[in-house]
Symmetry: C2
Subunit: 369 residues, 2 copies
């Protein structure tokens, strides 16, 4: 079903609002933690509720191979499977598959399973069927994402194939007897950093009347400032009353830049992956807790945030657990980073509501750019 | 300071009571989860509070090498270090050191660090000093634990050396300017499965007037029934008004057998280690969740316990997380096993209070022996 966006406040092009889906509502801007195989590493759905997460992402590629979409479906779909009452979203599986250098044709992609080496085919229709079985509230079409930089010809081919696949995916989704009553399907805009191709891709995607829209293929290696105008070229074409999602972006400076250009939703493995390696998001920027200077520190991770759920454990203790590879370290640091980023997004939302987004963004750039 | 035991109910020789230390009180029988390096794997002190744990064990061997007892001391001692308000207990380090086949003399043991290969010496006095620095509420003397079966000569040598070391450790502890005002030191009874040597070791340990008493060197490979009488020979000699601790025992049948012979405190890595490998403690006995039959199961781990903190997640979901090695699995299964065992000990305590311990123990044997 169509995911609607109700605007509460606008500050420049930054939007604070509410997205409504078949599941219910969530407020935006929104950061969605990534639960690759049906769980955010080291956390349970209870932890995610306590952190105030609203939407959890699952990776179709991984879930279709293990435990298999049929098992997720038989156990009630991704949300019930993970005992998670909030929203769920699945990618199409394409991003992981393309990293495996598959054989690609207009038909789809053929790749080898990392689990047992078996040959698997991923088509636009198959990605729809698999995601319907997995049953996330929001599913993504299979697209073709080019690395940057790429030649115009490569970007053009990816754009055209993405549009072709989007038509077939939309048709497959709408042809399912019940999916479109319960679930939402988002289209994906490609086009590299070429403004005209971004606008064209956005227009061709919007023509298919998706339930929401994502921008893909940006922040994939190019400098942050290089995607500002291409992003604007895309969002200018997207309907104002539907949610907009920037795929795979999770650094604070990037998030404010994208929100400034009308984006509502984000996901990224960055905060959780950094945490597992001992790097923390703090009011002073990134902090590598493995550094020897923290060995005897009795301070909490971020003294500026005494209300953090991990403020009770000292840097010295957490560093020790990291050094001896105790899994409790990865857990507590993951909680910190997600809490910090979710609070950051909440603060950003408040600044939009208060009409102080520009000041907020300037402060973020000073710290994080 | 002397740890006192206040008896609330006795059923046969099974005791339900309260232990008082410099930190405060905890009720017995008591199972103490093991936080080897300052954390129970995958859990934080907040989790342990929510589970109702009362005493957490730390391993001196690991903590003295990483982060070093000086760092634990400078960060306030083990409890404050781990942000844990309850009781803490450290072993002497001997158990781990002896597994490294060190050079042993009357002086002490010399071994190589597993971290960097450096030569380290562990003496009765050093074990006291290190544990005072680590600062757990209860510390253990350095003893010599023989494998079973061993010859009488080996058991005798271990007994005599344990007694010699206990004298030196007690003297060292009492000679410290403040330790004995805040902390409690427990002696350890050895003697293999020989009744006379067990009784002798207990008498010689009690003569040193420790703050509490442990029984070591039992349940180290011999059949469960083989340690019943030697344990009785030891506990018969121990003062009724001080706590008694059976080191390294964690299976339900063993726990009831030891409680039936007057033991109050237990520790074991078993419930947490089993959990990490997918084996659960349930009302139907041990259950290996990796079995294929659970792949599509929507049931909770133990349908008999809907109030388990992990009852919300299905066997199928948890099995999937185990199969793909998601750390969330180890966490949730660890919570289950500790919750289950702590509840088991609570139920046992209730049965002692109600005078139905014998029935309780019979039920446990039917399920677990």
């Amino acid at each position: 079903m169509k995911a609607t966006f109700d605007l509460e406040h606008k500050d420049g092009d930054a939007r604070a609002g509410t997205v409504t889906t078949g599941r219910g509502t969530f407020s935006t801007p929104c950061f969605m933690p990534v639960g690759t195989r049906g769980a955010v590493k080291h956390l349970s759905s209870k932890d995610l509720s306590e952190l105030g997460a609203q939407v959890i992402l699952g990776n179709t590629y991984h879930l279709m191979l293990r435990p298999g979409s049929d098992i997720v479906e038989s156990l009630g779909g991704l949300g019930k499977f993970a005992n998670w009452d909030g929203h769920t979203l699945t990618d199409s599986g394409g991003y992981q598959v393309f990293s495996l250098e598959p054989k690609i044709s207009d038909e789809g992609a053929i790749f080898k399973s990392v689990y047992d080496g078996s040959k698997i085919s991923l088509t636009p229709e198959g990605a729809v069927d698999t995601q319907i079985a997995i049953g996330a509230d929001i599913q993504m079409v299979l697209d073709v994402c080019s690395a940057l930089p790429s030649s115009d010809a490569v970007i053009r081919e990816a754009l055209d194939r993405t549009a072709l696949w989007a038509t077939r995916a939309r048709s497959r989704f709408l042809g399912h007897p019940t999916a479109s009553e319960r679930l939402s399907q988002f289209g994906i805009v490609q086009g590299g950093i070429d403004l005209a191709m971004r606008a064209e891709s956005a227009q061709r995607t919007v023509e298919l009347d998706f339930d929401g829209y994502a921008v893909g293929g940006l922040s994939v290696g190019e400098h942050r400032t290089q995607w500002h105008e291409p992003l604007r070229a895309a969002t200018d074409q997207l309907p104002a009353d539907q949610p907009r999602y920037f795929m795979g972006l999770g650094d604070p400076a990037g998030i404010v830049d994208a929100v400034a250009r009308g984006i509502d939703m984000f996901d990224c493995v960055l905060p959780t992956r950094l945490a597992r390696h001992g790097t923390l998001l703090t009011s002073q920027g990134r902090m590598n807790l493995t550094r020897a200077e923290f060995a005897k520190s009795d301070d909490p991770i971020d003294p500026a945030y005494p209300d953090s759920p991990v403020a009770g454990w000292s840097r010295g203790y957490l560093r020790h657990l990291l050094q001896v590879k105790e899994p409790t370290a990865a857990r507590l640091l993951t909680i910190h980073n997600l809490w910090w980023l979710l609070r950051f997004v909440d603060d950003m939302r408040t600044s939009i509501t208060n009409g102080t987004f520009e000041t907020f963004a300037a402060g973020v750039h000073e710290q994080w750019s």
